[in-house]
Symmetry: none
Subunit: 225 residues, 2 copies
DNA sequence: AAAAAGGAATGAAAATATTAGTTGTGGAAG
DNA sequence: CTTCCACAACTAATATTTTCATTCCTTTTT
């Protein structure tokens, strides 16, 4: 899961990314709205955390950018002031959640997770496909009713596949999803192979079919046929 | 997909082409604007990356060339200076995207892909002709409702044909589309024959007709009649 | 119309690129 | 302290691409 943190205070940005990385999210930071706008149009994020107290841009521009962000990813707004004005801003762009400073990182984390669950999987706490069931809240995976322990990367990989059933995913996009964009593309490919192998083994081991289809020269596809 | 990189710094040009080749693009380099102009009029590219800090040519010439480039392919401008002057230049010629040095190759890659997506597929995701259906996102090909696995070259070839129904394509243009222009023309003919043969076989095998019509002395045409 | 010449098709082998599988190391988490 | 996992390096297996010799067609020439 990839998260974009839009925050100009380096210290706060780092605290947030540190915390969320430890929770298994891939984090990227944009220091300005302009940067955020850029990143949004280039990459896909599952959730964007925006600090409304950024210096650049006037009110109107910001709302435009926020709308654009909100259209493609979930969005959580952070603001120092608990004023009506800000709340209205938040609602206007259809933000998914709203927090006032100061806040606990654990709360932010909880909100991010709940948002991703809501957005990504329609509020459903379970993702079910064929004999694979993922309990998102508990982070548990079941294959044919037997629980299967997956490592973090394996879990992320499985979720990425499950939200892209029947779509050909390039090795590169998988790598980007699992490690973010600051990756040496040569090295990361071997790691993709490794994790694919592990996930495959675990699924088959528990009685699932090998749904991961290799596409030579391209990447992989999660598919029933 | 073919990309032209207009860049005089050999090192940078190589980094770019290395990276993008790994991503599956066919890359060619032009070291000067003059060369770029040449190439543009001879070949077709899906995207052109132009470094605006090239030494040759004066401002006006450059703009003329850029306009010519922009008219036929997508264009991404790279510039060392984040000056207004350059930005205006970029907009004036209707460039599709704009980056300042230094940048990450992964970002360039993302921009190229997003540009190609926008330009090429304009949102619609299936290509259907007679009993042949290509699902671009899933990279699936169906002949008469049965899925057909195609290798990369076969797939590229089929897509080239499908976007040129009823048009006579020379062997040379096919070779150029599949491998770029730095090819030994004698060898490339044999390779074209080979891949034509394989694609034909797969189409017919799955119950399609042999839509690939040979035109003696010229090349091939994909046609129903 | 027959022969010659050049282009195209085919099948199979060789070369290459890509993916799978193994193992070892280091570091983090418990 | 132990276990687990991410990562890297390496080897093996596999799929694709390219090459090549040969045959089969078309066109051109005589």
């Amino acid at each position: 899961m990839k998260i974009l943190v839009v925050e100009d205070e380096k210290g706060l940005a780092e605290s947030i990314t540190d915390y969320l990385s430890r929770e298994g999210f891939i984090c990227e930071v944009a220091n300005t709205f302009w940067q955020a706008d850029e990143k949004i149009s280039l990459y896909q994020y599952d959730c964007t955390i925006v600090d409304l107290t950024l210096p650049d841009g006037d009110g109107f521009d910001i709302i435009q950018t926020l709308k654009k962000i909100a259209a493609t990813t979930g969005i959580i707004i952070i603001s120092a002031r608990n004023t009506l004005e800000d709340k209205i801003k938040g609602l206007e762009i259809g933000s998914d959640d709203y927090m006032t400073k100061p806040f606990h990182l654990s709360e932010l984390n909880a909100r991010v997770k709940s948002l991703i669950r809501r957005r990504h999987f329609g509020g459903n706490n379970d993702m079910i496909w064929k004999e694979i069931t993922v309990q998102l809240a508990a982070r548990k995976v079941f294959i044919r009713d037997t629980e299967t322990m997956l490592s973090r990367k394996e879990y992320d990989l499985l979720l990425y596949f499950l939200s892209n059933i029947d779509v050909a995913l390039t090795k590169e996009s998988i790598a980007e999803h699992l490690w973010g964009d600051n990756m040496d593309s040569a090295d990361s490919l071997d790691m993709v192979y490794s994790h694919i192998k592990n996930l495959r083994r675990k699924i088959v081991e528990k009685g699932g079919k090998d749904y991961i289809q290799s596409i030579y020269g391209i990447g992989y596809k999660f598919t029933a046929s």
